[in-house]
Symmetry: C3
């Protein structure tokens, strides 16, 4: 007989009441009407920057992501015969597995490169030649490189689509897409003709240096009416915390941008709290804002949701994990479906999953 003590250790539950961010993809599906035309342009584009998306394309991407999330196993052959080149020259497991999982879920094949030193680049091969090689071997590329200019250099020679999965301090567009997707899954009314109250967004991070923040702020520009206010919290001054032109772009879109240094003063009004502490600089990561910290005792609004691109450190305490504020795990789960939606469009397979195209 098996010792009950060991049984207790090895038994696990596959489903628990999901207090961590009830996803509501079906509500979002109903809130947005399908319009395949808005996805058509993605079939000949690289995904480089949040700047390249407009409102219509974003809504259709979110709708398709919600369709995938509501029907996880249904589209398992959509990418049959397609090969993804998964090139992560900067250490990452989270983003790499998120993309690879998305591609596998749709039935595609994958070739991984996880060590820069094994590539011809070590022999002095140009990125243009690496791109030409990729043209012959795969159908889509995902690239993370600490060297900011690599993805753009490859885009010039590529004849298959490439996704920027994080280039230095510059951008990480698919993370931002996943973040905004999560917000709309929580409040689908905001994309309908009958929206409820707009949101106060509190963003703890450094816009000049954190690529997830930079990419997200750009997307917010497409939905200025959704955000009553955007309050950026860090320990830099308003003059120093933005990259050149960044604040101007945000304000031109109609967003109300506030800045603050005291998090606990901002939290009581925040509907969405986004927090991040890490930026990728000089081939390594750097931490900012050590003084900022959220936990179960923070003065959060009762219905406030918390987002974090993960990996997290002490800035986001585990005491929040079991609360209804926790939408950061849902954010990570939804990111796979968002990437499924994007990848489907990039390799021209959208017609296999849309009802009308």
């Amino acid at each position: 007989m098996v010792d009950p003590k060991i049984e207790q250790v090895v038994q696990f539950e596959r489903t628990r009441p999901d207090v961590r961010g009830d996803a509501h993809p079906k509500k979002l599906l109903r809130a947005i009407e399908e319009d395949g035309d808005n996805l058509a342009k993605l079939s000949d584009q690289h995904i480089f920057s949040s700047d390249q998306f407009d409102r219509g394309t974003l809504l259709q991407l979110f709708r398709l992501a919600a369709k995938y999330e509501a029907n996880p196993g249904r589209f398992s052959t959509s990418l049959n015969g397609q090969i993804l080149i998964s090139a992560f020259y900067e250490p990452s497991t989270r983003t790499r597995l998120s993309f690879e999982s998305a591609w596998h879920r749709l039935g595609g094949d994958i070739m991984s490169i996880t060590d820069r030193s094994t590539t011809g680049i070590a022999k002095g091969e140009s990125l243009g030649d690496v791109a030409e090689m990729f043209n012959n071997y795969g159908d889509c590329v995902v690239l993370r490189d600490s060297q900011e200019g690599s993805v753009k250099e490859m885009m010039n020679a590529l004849r298959i689509p490439i996704i920027n999965a994080g280039n230095g301090i510059d951008e990480h567009p698919t993370q931002a897409l996943a973040d905004l997707y999560t917000i709309f899954k929580w409040r689908p009314d905001l994309v309908t003709d009958n929206p409820g109250e707009p949101l106060n967004l509190c963003l703890v991070g450094l816009p000049s240096k954190m690529r997830t923040v930079r990419s997200l702020l750009k997307l917010l520009c497409d939905f200025p009416e959704v955000f009553a206010s955007v309050t950026i919290v860090n320990d830099f001054s308003r003059e120093e915390m933005f990259a050149p032109g960044q604040l101007e772009q945000l304000e031109e879109s109609g967003l109300k941008i506030h800045t603050a240094g005291d998090l606990d003063k901002v939290l009581p009004e925040a509907d969405v709290v986004y927090i991040n502490a890490i930026s990728w600089e000089d081939n390594s990561f750097k931490e900012y804002g050590k003084v900022f910290h959220i936990d179960a005792k923070s003065p959060l609004k009762e219905n406030a949701i918390v987002l974090h691109p993960l990996a997290r450190g002490e800035e986001l305490c585990t005491s929040l994990d079991g609360t209804s504020h926790n939408w950061y795990f849902s954010q990570a789960r939804g990111a796979v479906f968002l990437r499924m939606a994007l990848l489907t469009c990039l390799v021209q397979r959208a017609e296999r999953v849309l009802d009308v195209i």
Copy 2:
């Protein structure tokens, strides 16, 4: 024309008379009656320790493994749509490829992590958060980590099954399953109502430090009547060679445990000789028992079989490879089928392969 000398070099045989452990999976299939109920509990369990198996579950696992080994190509779609996260933070090719081959043979997809430094753990991410990430990206995890506590820490947060593929000096349960499976393929009568002579097992290794030995000894506890004696051979004293509680657990099960320091005195009575020289300590491997060695001249019983978890060094001489004692290559081959059986049950796909469930 092609130079006959080069033809001689490049020609190879796919099948040779299999002197290295005639597998007999079909005989084992006939010896055990199918009983799917005994596999049901595996569908909500992590695989952490040999302690969690009872006799009934073991026999059904061995039966299913034998079914796979007897019909290698038949079940090639059983794991369609399932994603394995293959995480090997400690150097390994043998065990990783064994698991990945098993998963591929059943039609599943794989994402590999072979470098600890590429994971968020390098950024200080907790194992609980890594587990939550795995929940979103895959359907099953296999983990080998020199840090003994990692797998248990992840088990707390995982909602998909994880297999401990070797955690420091602690356990390696699937290797033990493969070892016992091999013994029963050789002597299927021992699991019937009409067993022949029980076995004298000679085990060359260090129970306190070698995880393969620790896991195997636990499994023997479920079949005390199969083993007339278990003689453990190494250069430690009986007081020093066991971990706390280890010898007691073995003797409580009814096994007769002897210890010895002179291998050549034990071999003439041994039916099964299991030998291993390596343990994994402190993130590297350590060798024990340099004085112990088996070769074609060793005083083995005529029908004795030799097992080794591999990789081997000088303790198991290649002069035995071409003899009928060599069941260590069969052991490695059978390990793939054993893992196929286990993985099938863990991801709740057993109903696709069992006749009655």
Copy 3:
């Protein structure tokens, strides 16, 4: 609305007028009659050296490669259920991805080993035991190892086929196959009963040290009538530039081998220019012939084609990329189809793709 400047950056073309080596696989398909018998011997051979191919087998391999290149998506299930072990112990992305892409395109599964230190070899495991392990886990092996003798040592114990993907300075047979395939796609008349003018081949490289050159020269021996002359250009003397026996093997086949030190004197007569600057010695790469260089201003014949095994450095200038001399990108593209053809035969799946066998 999206800023047109960013749209310009992210938009790309999937197809451009292909000035870089119009592939003509269909012309080659028509030029060679199918004869499956000539491929039969490959089903029980390792691929070790260019020496093991004869003319008949080469023509059928090229025909099958052309069939794949002319119908890229048609045979996507030919390797269903087959597992490739992709072992690259020497840094490589180009060759590894070329093989893995080929295997994926035919519907097979892959297990990759890219770090020698993770294998049992680090524990002192013999290559014979590694081979025995591969026998149990996969159906085909591709190996690149800077240690020249590894592939032969494994061939002795393997019961599944292995392809030498580059062993030190010795050989790289599949690269040579891809090179000759490219030449015949350009001039398919040369393998018919009614060939046009034979070719002057100019080969910039070091036959004694460059494995791609060594393997290619051997294949030329099977088609002496195709090459009016072979002129090898480097900065070594005729006595020093060949390995022992190398020049004799070439001359015995009927090839006219010239040597020269002044590239610009040879180019005006060359129909095919092959250039390479790198050899793999002592676990690292070494450059030769820094003085030799081709660019758009070189005195090339109007219809001359340029080949390079890639990766390239300054010896092959990017100014040639947009010219009709550029057949090196077509060479890389064709290499995938050539490998698809070879792999199909090795794992005994040719009957799934040939019309008559």
